[in-house]
């Protein structure tokens, strides 16, 4: 699965993406975030304030309980500040 990072999340992790094989028991965004945090101290810090983390699954904005069983690309980013 492809994981993308943007803005200050990308900056803190010092990388813009990961390619990962997820364990079978990870079914939604919340579970994915917990698993990423458990494996990476930097992600744990970046995700500290959960409600600030916005998520897109296969180019669609979703909530943290969104099912990712068949997802190809998951993106994590801070609140958007365009326009």
């Amino acid at each position: 699965m492809k994981i993308l990072y943007f803005a200050w999340i990308k900056e803190r992790l010092n990388r813009s993406q990961d390619d990962l094989e997820l364990p079978k028991n990870i079914n939604n965004v919340n579970e994915l975030m917990a698993w990423l945090e458990s494996n990476d101290e930097q992600i744990k810090l970046a995700f500290e304030n959960k409600e600030l983390i916005r998520v897109a699954v296969d180019e669609e904005l979703v909530e943290h309980d969104f099912d990712i069983t068949n997802a190809k690309t998951i993106a994590f980013f801070p609140p958007m500040t365009g326009g």
């Binding site: 943007f6 803005a7 500040t81």
Partner: protein
């Protein structure tokens, strides 16, 4: 009368707001009674002058979201045409960042269409601003008022 559909352009290059508005108005068939052009500009801060603004973006999702907001506004406000341009990359103070243009038979629809697109774009289109000033680089924080601005478009 040809049926227009919203046009969305994502680009790094600067654009000329007046020239774009001129092009947009030229497409009017005579049925348009009211046109709006909104331009978002790089704004400096008197207390901490901005040297450069950079917009990072998530290209595929940005294009998709902008098209989504434009299409919803087009149908909801029965607009005759919409054109939306959003830049990414580095820009200087005074330069345009975004422009949304709407045209309709009546004025309130043109106002509402452009306002709707801007309100949604602010919080739900994947762009992130970094301001560079003498004090260094700073990721711009989102504002609660932008989140609240969307409430005025609730239908239920």
């Amino acid at each position: 009368m040809a049926k227009n559909s919203p046009l969305v352009r994502l680009q790094a290059e600067i654009f000329d707001p007046a020239k774009e508005y001129n092009q947009f108005l030229k497409q009017n068939t005579g049925a348009g009674g009211a046109a709006i052009c909104f331009t978002g500009l790089v704004r400096s801060n008197p207390d901490n002058p901005i040297v450069k603004l950079t917009l990072e973006h998530y290209p595929a999702l940005a294009q998709r979201q902008l098209e989504k907001f434009a299409n919803i506004a087009f149908e909801r406000f029965k607009l005759q045409n919409i054109s939306l341009i959003h830049r990414y990359g580095a820009m200087a103070v005074g330069e345009p960042i975004v422009q949304v243009m709407t045209i309709s038979a009546h004025r309130q629809a043109a106002f509402d269409g452009a306002n709707y697109i801007m309100d949604w774009l602010k919080t739900d289109a994947p762009f992130w601003k970094i301001e560079q000033s003498a004090k260094g680089k700073n990721w711009v924080e989102n504002k609660a008022c932008d989140e609240n601005a969307k409430h005025k478009w609730k239908t239920d």
